[in-house]
């Protein structure tokens, strides 16, 4: 047993500086993404969440080009893209996805240019790799306070707005009738999403950012009843996946190929997806019969069970 623990928690884990920073930042990112993600999934804006992360990384490479701290580049491009999406302001879901796609396409084009100029001016190899996949183990400790602060801001915005946000996410018409400024709430939420996503993209890479935003929230909405519990469960799943992922990545230095750790993004993504798949094992309770009853209404009533019970 002792040997097992020794194997699981490789020696030097607790005393390693990068691991401690990774655990701290990973926790903040996981909690923020988990809570914001519940609304992202409920509003069907996964694509926007992913696009904002990708566009934010474009800002990162742009900031790198002009010698600014990358975090500000991330934040500027993330919020700029969110504002642009809001100005285009397509209300139907299909049209919104197309607009998101166009913004993402333009952002990625800029990323291609920035990376090319970066490589031309500084001969950075693998810049594209870092931008996409990031690394939680190489966060500069000087950016940690800014990361944590922006995470808290995003969290605060979403928690303060949670009631009106939930109402306007589930039924915009009722919200409008009750005097909720649906458009303004949506814009504030999109900004919070941009902050949260660019925070996680700078810390852990664009891929992982989407994984932590969507995976835990989708899982939580399947297993938890009610929005508050869903937020708590989602944050918890995110934190567990992040910690386990960091632990496994640290351990993987002993795995083949020797002396070369496996990427932490892989572990966290794999854990998040496994959690989501596990949620299918749980037998859906009474909300299933309610859904099959309303299933005749058409294919569009495919809302998550959690969102259904949140509405009731």
């Amino acid at each position: 047993m002792e040997h097992f623990f020794h194997y699981l928690f490789a020696p030097g884990l607790a005393s390693s500086g990068p691991v401690r920073v990774a655990l701290l930042v990973g926790t903040v990112v996981a909690v923020t993404s988990g809570v914001v993600g519940v609304f992202t999934v409920t509003r069907g804006q996964s694509f926007a969440g992913h696009a904002l992360a990708d566009v934010a990384t474009t800002g990162g490479s742009g900031a790198f080009l002009i010698g600014l701290n990358q975090f500000w580049g991330f934040l500027a491009f993330g919020i700029g893209a969110a504002a642009f999406l809001e100005i285009i302001g397509v209300q139907r879901r299909r049209g919104r996805d197309v607009a998101t796609g166009v913004v993402l396409g333009a952002g990625l084009g800029l990323a291609a240019l920035f990376l090319y100029l970066d490589a031309a001016s500084t001969s950075t190899t693998g810049a594209s790799f870092t931008v996409l996949f990031g690394s939680i183990f190489v966060i500069a400790s000087s950016t940690v306070p800014a990361l944590i602060a922006s995470g808290l801001i995003a969290l605060l915005v979403v928690v303060v707005l949670s009631r009106v946000l939930l109402l306007s996410s589930l039924s915009p018409d009722i919200a409008a009738v009750r005097g909720v400024p649906v458009r303004a709430v949506g814009a504030a939420y999109l900004i919070a999403l941009a902050i949260s996503v660019s925070l996680s993209a700078v810390a852990i890479g664009a891929v992982l950012s989407t994984a932590l935003l969507i995976g835990p929230a989708a899982t939580a909405l399947r297993i938890a009843r009610g929005p508050v519990r869903a937020m708590a469960v989602s944050a918890l799943i995110g934190v567990v996946a992040t910690w386990l992922g960091i632990l496994l990545a640290y351990d993987s230095y002993d795995w083949p190929p020797h002396g070369h750790g496996w990427p932490v993004s892989f572990f966290i993504v794999a854990l998040v997806v496994i959690f989501y798949l596990l949620s299918y094992l749980r037998r859906p309770s009474r909300s299933r019969s309610a859904r099959t009853a309303s299933g005749a209404a058409g294919a569009h009533s495919r809302s998550e069970e959690g969102a259904c019970s949140a509405a009731s």
């Binding site: 992913h50 291609a112 810049a127 989708a218 495919r302």
Partner: protein, 281 residues
């Protein structure tokens, strides 16, 4: 600009623009934009895995793009479509991160697979692109009417016996087919921009599907041809021009649609019904 090796570039880019124009029209019409982003990006991870195993990258691209399409189709039926797409995308990219980190010498190729290597197309790459491109356009031609119907009016299509779930799966597989061939040439990100930008613009310019497909191809061709010429002169990456021109076309289309709407409202008075978009041919 039109010397020997550049001819391959022009031909490959033309084929890709035509495929992207046709497939992209349906992607935009169906709202499968996220899938259009996820499948090429996931396929890129497959290429990394293939180079790790020492097999042809085309096999890796095909396996991952088809697996991604099947995963999105299967899980999208049960849960939210965008959640399934996001999770399929991150899972494939997570595997890609693993493959890339294990095979240490791969990092340089990452850039070219993401952003394309259109100026390095070899003549023997052209034939498979042309064949698979023709296959995916043929497949769309065969299922054109039911696909059109289920994209524009899913309920009506269901009533007539066209299963929208099956249509979605078939369409995603066609997209995977088109993707696995084009990613090594133009890159995962460029393929996405080419599918969405021109098609979205074309949809704003005309409600008629046939004309919209032709316009979508035309915009795509204009984008890549201009992009290649400017990129050849300035040496800036092609992906930049394609992404920006896609956005410009889209904004122009939106502006034109808004202008036409206000003009027609002013001309015909308030009683005139709104133009119906995308009726089946």
């Amino acid at each position: 600009m039109f010397s020997g090796f550049m001819m391959n570039t022009w031909i490959a880019a033309t084929i890709v623009a035509v495929i992207a124009g046709v497939v992209g029209f349906f992607a935009v019409l169906r709202g499968s934009t996220f899938a259009a982003h996820a499948i090429p990006n996931g396929a890129f991870a497959g290429a990394a895995g293939a180079s790790l195993l020492g097999i042809s990258t085309l096999v890796g691209l095909a396996v991952f793009s088809v697996a991604g399409a099947l995963g999105i189709g299967a899980f999208g039926r049960r849960a939210r479509h965008d959640v399934a797409t996001a999770l399929a995308l991150v899972l494939m990219l997570g595997l890609g991160a693993l493959f890339i980190s294990v095979s240490t010498e791969y990092a340089q190729e990452t850039y070219s697979l993401l952003f394309g290597e259109v100026f390095g197309v070899s003549p023997d790459e052209l034939l498979p692109i042309a064949i698979l491109g023709a296959a995916s356009i043929l497949a769309i031609g065969v299922i054109f009417r039911p696909l059109m119907l289920s994209s524009a009016m899913p309920e009506v299509a269901e009533a007539r016996g066209v299963s929208s779930a099956r249509m979605e799966m078939v369409f995603l597989l066609i997209m995977a087919l088109a993707t696995s061939m084009t990613v090594p040439v133009v890159g995962a990100l460029l393929m996405f921009s080419l599918m969405i930008g021109p098609a979205a613009a074309a949809r704003s310019f005309t409600p008629r599907p046939g004309l919209a497909i032709v316009l979508s191809i035309a915009f795509g061709l204009a984008t890549v041809w201009t992009g290649i010429a400017v990129s050849y002169v300035t040496n800036w990456p092609l992906g930049f021009f394609v992404g920006v021109m896609g956005a410009v076309f889209y904004l122009a289309g939106r502006a034109w649609a808004t202008l036409r709407r206000t003009r027609s409202v002013r001309a015909a008075g308030p009683g005139r019904p709104a133009p119906v978009t995308a009726q089946p041919a």
